[in-house]
């Protein structure tokens, strides 16, 4: 059990799968020689060679669609889109090709590819380098979407994503790359689609994913000082997502707060709230409150971005409201 950074944990999963499975290849902009814009792919070129670890030109649409074609022809590509904002250029490959191939060809093939991409703000990167667009993917049948909240989960979930026969979007919060955490390489595999109770509690359920889970945990710690015990559910995977675990938690706490960094409106939290307002309706003792970013682009200036990003205080306020 070693302490590693989030970026390193991803690197380890890539290195390990490249070593074990000759059909795994890694490509993207500056991922090979430079080791990736955030250092995530450092060393992979040296270890695994130019045939399997490649720098691409700035051609996002073709990076993704080539991954689909390669996946249909025997490889397991793990490709990177440098900032999630740039997937806007590459949606056809993901949505019309990767997501649909298995279905529209009657189950003849699967598309075992992984798209890694960082989302999120907090580094003053401005409106075109900070977006959280995961709700787009979660809406598309045929795609899977996972979002780790710590180094250990990143390592486990990426391995699971690469092993998965279907296309998986693997989302990394860029503000987390230097976050440290324990990593147990021998820990049992994580199943895509299963949530994790990151903190147990009986008073309120806080559902979250990715970096925001840590915000939820911080809020829960503060709430505990006031004798409010929040249960924090880390979804880990948002497509598919573990509605059973959420429902069970809600059945104990009867109160639900949902937190993510993405814009609240039409975000991932909407689906969770909507589903619980259906199957969990009888368990609810209070309105469901979502905490997320306001309906505006991610602003550049520090004073703006810090107000923009949802924080522990926002979660605490929401919890107080559902407990009122």
């Amino acid at each position: 059990m070693a302490e590693v950074r989030f970026a390193k944990a991803i690197n380890m999963a890539l290195d390990e799968t490249l070593t074990k499975d000759p059909s795994v290849v890694v490509f993207g902009e500056d991922v090979a020689h430079a080791g990736g814009p955030f250092g995530v792919t450092r060393g992979l070129l040296d270890t695994h060679g130019e045939l399997r670890v490649r720098d691409t030109p700035i051609s996002e649409a073709t990076i993704v669609s080539a991954a689909v074609g390669a996946a249909m022809s025997g490889l397991k590509p793990v490709v990177e889109i440098m900032f999630m904002d740039f997937v806007a250029i590459a949606m056809d490959g993901l949505v019309n090709q990767a997501a649909k191939a298995r279905f529209m060809f009657g189950g003849q093939c699967s598309v075992p590819m992984v798209l890694r991409t960082p989302h999120g703000g907090g580094v003053n990167a401005g409106p075109q380098h900070s977006q959280c667009l995961e709700a787009w993917f979660a809406h598309i049948p045929g795609l899977k979407v996972v979002v780790p909240s710590n180094p250990s989960d990143a390592y486990q979930l990426l391995k699971a994503a690469i092993l998965d026969p279907d296309p998986v979007i693997f989302i990394e919060n860029k503000a987390m790359y230097s976050m440290k955490g324990d990593l147990d390489e021998a820990a049992p595999a994580i199943e895509i689609g299963k949530a994790h109770i990151a903190r147990a509690g009986d008073d309120v359920t806080i559902v979250s994913y990715g970096a925001a889970v840590n915000t939820a945990l911080a809020a829960a710690a503060t709430l505990a000082e006031r004798d409010i015990e929040a249960e924090v559910v880390d979804l880990r995977s948002i497509q598919p997502w573990d509605e059973e675990t959420v429902l069970q938690s809600l059945s104990r706490t009867h109160r639900l707060v949902i937190l993510h960094e993405a814009v609240t409106n039409f975000g991932v939290g909407a689906e969770i709230a909507a589903r619980m307002a259906d199957i969990g309706f009888d368990e609810l003792d209070a309105p469901i409150i979502r905490v997320g970013a306001p309906f505006m682009p991610v602003p550049f200036a520090k004073s703006l971005e810090s107000r923009y990003l949802p924080d522990a205080d926002d979660v605490i306020a929401a919890v107080e409201k559902v407990l009122a």
Binding site: S59, T62, A66, A71, G74, N96, R102, P165
Partner: protein, 329 residues
């Protein structure tokens, strides 16, 4: 049809095989046209009648392990790459026994067992898919080549540019085939794309050829050379085939935008009639040709019967094909 040499030296049996393949595509599509008119084919279909020499000339230069990405006008690509005629009809008629279980239809015919990676409803989308497939061949070192068919209209899509560049940078074994039929839906090519695809290829250091896409032997000979070059590690190659779209953009298109002159001149470019003339010159007997025609007719009759006998796809079963369901360990 594996032989890589043909052209003027082709044996009679091989000539007859070209003939048979072209006829198969032509008659299958003529039948689809009739079935569509009768309401037996749902959705919309794009026929490649008049363009048969392109797909037959090129796929006859391929090996079974080679892969092929296609577009919306993909019946010929599919059949000539070896998709089974009956499951092909079953698919387009929307039946469970279709090659794609009736989930995809005409615009998505695929058969992984013969390396046919799918027709595609998104113009241009097959191009980077084929580049990716070629990447797989290169990494797996399996001596295979990827081919992609796209129309003159697809030239305007940015993925072409990106794919030419990536394929050239990485020296991928891919053959880009532009089926230039002069029309992009209802618009003439001249109003759609100002460059010449071969000039683009040259700009990207990609060797290219241009052929009469209605002369199957010419297409085939060019394809043999380019496919061999790609297979031998010489990187991507490009072939432009000049041909003609006989039918509307889709079945039911009244083609008011085409002049009478153009329409009445189409028959002069019939790749099959031209090939029949050649066969006669090569002393292939009328009886041999008739035999081929009879066989095709019979096959198609059977395929249509199979298509009609197929069952309506089951919804619950279809739903399970969205994700791979793995056995519990």
């Amino acid at each position: 049809m594996k032989s890589r040499k043909a052209g003027n030296t082709a044996a009679k049996s091989q000539l007859l095989e070209f003939y048979e393949r072209m006829l198969l595509v032509r008659e299958a599509e003529n039948k689809l046209s009739a079935l569509f008119a009768d309401g037996e084919v749902p959705g919309f279909i794009h026929l490649s009648v008049g363009q048969e020499a392109v797909c037959v000339g090129i796929t006859s230069a391929l090996e079974a392990r080679d892969t092929l990405a296609s577009n919306h006008r993909g019946h010929g690509h599919a059949l000539s790459k070896g998709v089974d005629l009956e499951t092909f009809f079953l698919e387009i008629m929307g039946k469970e026994e279709g090659i794609c279980g009736g989930r995809g239809g005409s615009m998505h015919v695929a058969d992984m067992s013969v390396g046919m990676l799918g027709a595609n409803g998104i113009v241009g989308a097959g191009i980077p898919l084929a580049v990716g497939s070629a990447l797989a061949h290169q990494v797996r070192q399996n001596d295979a080549v990827a081919v992609v068919f796209f129309g003159d209209g697809a030239l305007a899509e940015g993925v072409l540019h990106e794919s030419l560049n990536l394929a050239a940078l990485w020296k991928l074994p891919v053959l880009f085939v532009c089926e230039n039929n002069g029309w992009s839906e209802f618009s003439p090519a001249s109003k759609q794309f100002i460059a010449n695809v071969r000039d683009l290829a040259t700009a990207f250091s990609i060797p290219s050829k241009k052929v009469d896409g209605n002369a199957v032997l010419e297409v085939h000979d060019a394809a043999v050379g380019l496919v061999n070059a790609a297979r031998n590690g010489e990187g991507p190659q490009l072939l432009e085939c000049i041909t003609h779209r006989w039918r509307g953009h889709f079945e039911g298109d009244p083609q008011k935008y085409r002049s009478e002159d153009e329409m009445s001149g189409l028959a002069d470019h019939d790749p099959i009639a031209a090939f029949e003339a050649l066969l006669e010159k090569k002393k292939v007997s009328k009886a041999d040709m008739q035999e081929v025609r009879d066989r095709i007719e019979e096959q198609i009759t059977r395929a249509v019967e199979a298509g009609r006998a197929g069952s309506a796809p089951d919804f619950e079963r279809a739903k399970t094909d969205v994700y791979t369901v793995r056995e519990a360990v």
